[in-house]
């Protein structure tokens, strides 16, 4: 196919509004354009934060200072964590693929409140830029870790307030997106689309949105209280004034544990779309997957104490939180088994999206089981705040949510831009990513078990082997990331035309042209059967 071909219809990408060029994008309330704007912004922030991650790895190639001093290192992991958590993964999938595809998947022309949607993006950008500022405006970059634990965060003389305000504003952007999605799902499903005829990605977004609405305000007020402690001397967390530092940890994790499900639920939703398409087979256990999303959201709200097992909380409190932590693992297990059964008996085509989705299962299993290790009281005592935790969450966040993002972008890229990327390069990039990933993070489990604490600028010599291997992994990983990004950027302009349905998918987005027109559907579709109904397409073979 020649790469100069052009699709004929007018898509949302070419559509001219009141303004042209950049301004046209910045004032557009089209959910797809907003989704893309999120994607571009998040990619840039991801690269910046990933570069910081790489710097940490280089620093740790040998004990003692190598490329930076301790103060810089502390700033680097803080900003790495803050950007990755608050700017990349919390909004990540929901804001990008949620915005791009939620309305299409439920047969709507846009989200319920398009202007509010654009406003959320601006809030997001404000917060994100404020976060970046904390690096540069006078004084030192914040050095508290992304968890902002008091009393240190109330005392540190660095730009902590900037980072706190950034997180606060980003929180509100996230709340508004969640609110928008809940109303959209309630009010704008196409005629005939009952709750149980809705695709599963919207289900996971629905569960996510509720956590966003009900958990985020708590961290908002908590960060405000830390700001008040720094600026106004209101010492809720200051032991010298009778305050309670552990109370901060409760409040922080009441949000930040559910936040990890804000990250992983949409990721699970994305791969749930991918498995049926590439197996040409309905999803196995539709109801179980839908309900397990809700179950994860509900139970996941009440397990926050597992981050505080060593902080001196009461014996029974530890007991209870550990118990609930194990309960949430079960719905995750249900999902994994249902994905496997979806593939079983199908007609599998191992295209890049499926490759990423399968490797997600592998990485998520490792991340999940090490999560269980952390959730058990006895083993948490040993592993808490060691490199073991660092490996756990990189496996589950980068391996879960990151790989879901890669899977999703390879899945929906032809729909978003109407063009196809090179499978060959996508597969090679995957090889580097997957290999690099495991080489980078697996050694951290081992040195973690040997007692290597996290947030350590320096370390004892016995941990060096692990650190060196890990650093090598980071370099392999980078190669993969660069290949993947270049492949996609090249395809964006030069790729072959993809056509409306390159994967023979059956959900609504594959029934409209690629890229979709401005209002998605000329005519709102009427839904008559299950979302993953392959009956007709398959008879041709």
């Amino acid at each position: 196919m020649s790469s100069t071909e052009k699709y004929t219809h007018e898509s949302y990408l070419e559509h001219k509004g009141k303004y042209k060029g950049l301004l046209g994008w910045l004032t557009s309330t089209d959910h797809k354009k907003i989704g893309l704007m999120y994607m571009y912004a998040i990619t840039v922030f991801f690269l910046v934060a990933a570069l910081l991650g790489l710097m940490m790895r280089i620093e740790k190639i040998a004990p003692g200072p190598t490329i930076m001093d301790a103060q810089t290192y502390n700033g680097v992991f803080t900003i790495h964590g803050v950007i990755m958590i608050f700017i990349v993964v919390i909004p990540g999938l929901a804001a990008v693929f949620g915005n791009l595809f939620l309305p299409i998947l439920i047969g709507a022309k846009d989200v319920a409140f398009p202007k509010l949607n654009l406003f959320s993006w601006y809030l997001f950008m404000t917060g994100a830029i404020l976060g970046l500022f904390s690096q540069f405006v006078g004084g030192d970059p914040p050095d508290t870790g992304w968890t902002f634990y008091v009393p240190y965060s109330a005392e540190s003389s660095t730009n902590v307030i900037w980072a706190l305000s950034a997180a606060f504003i980003l929180g509100f952007a996230s709340i508004l997106t969640g609110l928008n999605f809940i109303v959209t799902i309630h009010r704008m499903r196409a005629p005939g689309m009952t709750w149980f005829k809705m695709p599963l990605f919207p289900w996971s977004l629905y569960a996510t949105a509720w956590i966003q609405v009900l958990a985020t305000p708590i961290v908002g007020i908590t960060l405000l209280m830390v700001i008040a402690e720094r600026v106004l001397n209101i010492g809720f967390f200051d032991p010298a004034l009778g305050g309670d530092p552990v109370l901060f940890q409760h409040l922080f994790w009441i949000y930040s544990h559910p936040a990890v499900y804000i990250m992983i639920l949409p990721a699970m939703g994305v791969v749930t779309e991918i498995f049926p398409t590439f197996s040409q087979k309905p999803v196995f256990g539709y109801g179980a997957i839908a309900i397990s999303s809700i179950a994860i959201a509900v139970v996941g709200y009440f397990v926050w104490g597992h981050h505080m097992f060593t902080s001196g909380i009461s014996y029974w409190s530890r007991w209870f939180f550990s118990f609930l932590t194990f309960i949430v693992a079960v719905p995750s297990a249900i999902k994994v088994f249902n994905w496997l059964s979806t593939m079983y008996g199908g007609k599998i085509s191992l295209k890049p999206p499926l490759l990423y989705a399968i490797s997600l299962i592998f990485l998520f299993l490792i991340g999940g089981f090490t999560g269980l290790t952390l959730g058990a009281l006895a083993t948490n005592i040993h592993t808490h705040d060691t490199a073991f935790v660092v490996a756990h969450f990189h496996y589950i966040i980068f391996g879960g949510m990151g790989f879901a993002f890669f899977a999703g972008i390879h899945y929906w890229f032809p729909k978003m831009y109407g063009r196809m990327y090179s499978f060959r390069w996508a597969n090679i990039a995957w090889g580097f990513l997957f290999l690099g990933f495991n080489v980078l993070y697996f050694p951290l489990f081992i040195i973690g078990l040997q007692g290597m604490p996290r947030r350590y600028f320096d370390y004892l010599p016995q941990y060096q082997t692990g650190h060196v291997i890990s650093t090598i992994g980071a370099f392999i990983l980078i190669i993969g990331i660069f290949m993947m990004i270049s492949n996609l950027i090249y395809a964006r302009k030069k790729g072959a035309l993809a056509g409306p349905n390159p994967w023979k998918g059956v959900t609504l987005e594959w029934k409209i042209p690629s890229p979709p027109p401005l209002e998605n559907f000329d005519e709102i579709p009427v839904i008559t059967h299950q979302p993953y109904f392959f009956g007709d397409t398959n008879d041709e073979d």
Partner: protein, 204 residues
């Protein structure tokens, strides 16, 4: 701001109402965080909380409660009025509400400035000399009433916008979503005060 003449926000009062309720939930949890802090410290320092609460002026507090309750009723009535198509009456009732809100703020102003006169503010020498529980009580007092006052102000702005739109005829019998939702917001302000009042002023 929309980029396309046909790309209009679709009109769905029920949807907007759900949206407003969701927003109210986030506000409740925002204050919920403070209530949790209150509960923990109140449990730890009950005697000091007792003692510090006695310093607050329960009379002003009671007055403000009454003012807010009345304003809540006038808002609710104004919604009834617009539903019946009587926008004059609706405007009148909203003006009463705005007046009530102003009275509330004036009271608050006097209450706070009175405290400041006695150097009772966080970080002041007087407060630093108090017991731990009392310091925390005052911290909570300022944080909670301050955040609440901020919400009163936001509500005030919303109500004024509604009045303007009622005057210009953009809010009508069939199109009063904004009016209803601003009303909901105002009730939220009232709802929060209903809990703040006994917890801060009455636990003596």
């Amino acid at each position: 701001m929309s980029t396309h003449p046909t790309h209009n926000e679709h009109h769905d009062p029920e949807g907007s109402k759900i949206g407003m309720w969701l927003f109210i939930f986030t506000e409740l949890f925002l204050f919920g965080g403070l209530f949790l802090v209150y509960a923990v410290f109140r449990n730890k320092y009950s005697a000091e909380f007792h003692h510090a609460a006695e310093e607050l002026n329960a009379f002003i507090g009671t007055m403000n409660t009454v003012v807010l309750l009345v304003s809540s009723m006038t808002v609710a009535m104004s919604v009834t009025a617009i539903q019946k198509g009587n926008s004059k009456k609706a405007i009148g009732l909203l003006i009463l509400t705005v007046l009530a809100a102003l009275i509330f703020m004036v009271n608050k102003y006097f209450e706070w400035s009175h405290k400041f006169e006695f150097n009772l503010y966080p970080g002041s020498d007087v407060v630093k000399g108090l017991d731990h529980g009392e310091i925390l009580f005052y911290g909570l007092y300022y944080m909670m009433t301050g955040l609440h006052a901020l919400h009163v102000l936001i509500g005030l702005v919303l109500l004024i916008i509604v009045i303007v739109r009622l005057k210009s005829g953009r809010i009508t019998k069939d199109h009063y979503s904004l009016h209803e939702n601003s009303g909901l917001y105002w009730h939220l302000v009232d709802l929060i005060w209903i809990f703040l009042f006994p917890l801060l002023y009455l636990i003596t």
